[in-house]
């Protein structure tokens, strides 16, 4: 380049062992880069907490306003599905934590294995969710996309129950969207791992992806009681 005064140095000009090829030059060293990346991911998760939190807040307000209507919806929510999904996500968090651990220790095969398991469990979550959504569709409890909403069995609660189901689909829908993004992240990390990108000196993408994955798990940990365990599962109406 034309600039002879800048402090940019071409890689060929300095000792390749002096720093990792993954070091970005606006950082002083890998430690600063790693710290920045993890803090950055935490700040991003902060925004996600407030994003989901807004929905949680609105849902909680309506639930406090219409306790009977919301409780009447509990018979259409299947806590078994919810609990299964919770268990599946918790296992996926375990495998994700083990994947990050493997990356830090340089255990390439273990890293790839645990990433695969994490993705399998993530996919399992989405499949179970799919079954659930299908059941709601069949039961006419989907107030979106026109025509699959029917609450005639308890018409005095119909309007507020519609709010409840709207929030159910939005909250689980946004959560599922985050799961899909998470699966995309995992795929990318897996492909990078296959190319032996990671080592004890550089595993930042695995670490920050792990943080994201655990966060999505935490959102579900709260969604489960809020959406599925509204009234105890006795018939209200």
């Amino acid at each position: 380049m034309a600039d002879t005064h800048s402090t940019v140095v071409e890689h060929s000009e300095h000792d390749p062992a002096a720093h990792s090829p993954h070091l970005r030059h606006h950082f002083d060293d890998m430690a600063q880069q790693f710290d920045s990346a993890t803090l950055g991911m935490w700040v991003f998760l902060l925004t996600e907490i407030m994003f989901f939190g807004g929905m949680f807040g609105a849902y909680t307000v309506y639930r406090s306003m219409y306790p009977a209507a919301f409780a009447s919806t509990s018979q259409y929510m299947n806590p078994l599905y919810g609990a299964m999904n919770t268990a599946v996500l918790i296992v996926s968090s375990l495998t994700m934590a083990l994947a990050v651990r493997a990356a830090r220790l340089g255990e390439q095969k273990a890293l790839q294995l645990f990433l695969i398991f994490t993705m399998i469990f993530g996919l399992a979550f989405l499949v179970i969710k799919g079954f659930e959504y299908h059941e709601h569709w069949v039961d006419n409890k989907v107030p979106l996309f026109g025509g699959h909403w029917d609450y005639s069995e308890a018409p005095q609660f119909a309007r507020q129950a519609q709010i409840m189901f709207c929030f159910y689909f939005f909250m689980t829908g946004f959560h599922a969207l985050h799961m899909v993004v998470g699966l995309g992240l995992m795929t990318t990390i897996f492909l990078m791992a296959r190319r032996a990108t990671f080592s004890p000196a550089y595993f930042t993408p695995v670490e920050v992806s792990g943080l994201y994955w655990h966060f999505v798990d935490i959102v579900w940990i709260f969604l489960f009681p809020l959406l599925y365990l509204i009234g105890h599962t006795k018939k209200i109406i």
Binding site: L39, M50, M65, L80, P225, I230
Partner: protein
Amino acid sequence: MHSIPSVRTYVIIWAILTFMTFTTYGVAQIDLGPWNIVVALLIAFFKMMLVILFFMNVKADSPLTKLFAGAGFFWLILLLGQFFIDYLTRGWMPEGTMW
């Protein structure tokens, strides 16, 4: 960087989390009236803390990370709390008051 937790630690945390999931489900079968949701949320909070401290390794992280992790949930409390300053007090004025 900080120490790496052992596989055993992770598996134990996982076991506790799974057990607590079954507990939540079980408690929901019993009628505790308004306390059902309180118990469920307390268990969820505890599970969240386990995930944050151990799976996300915040227990071994810097105070800065702990601050940011805590700030998120604190801000959520600010949002919910101030919503409910309105919603919980709406019925307090007598009927016919302007607002």
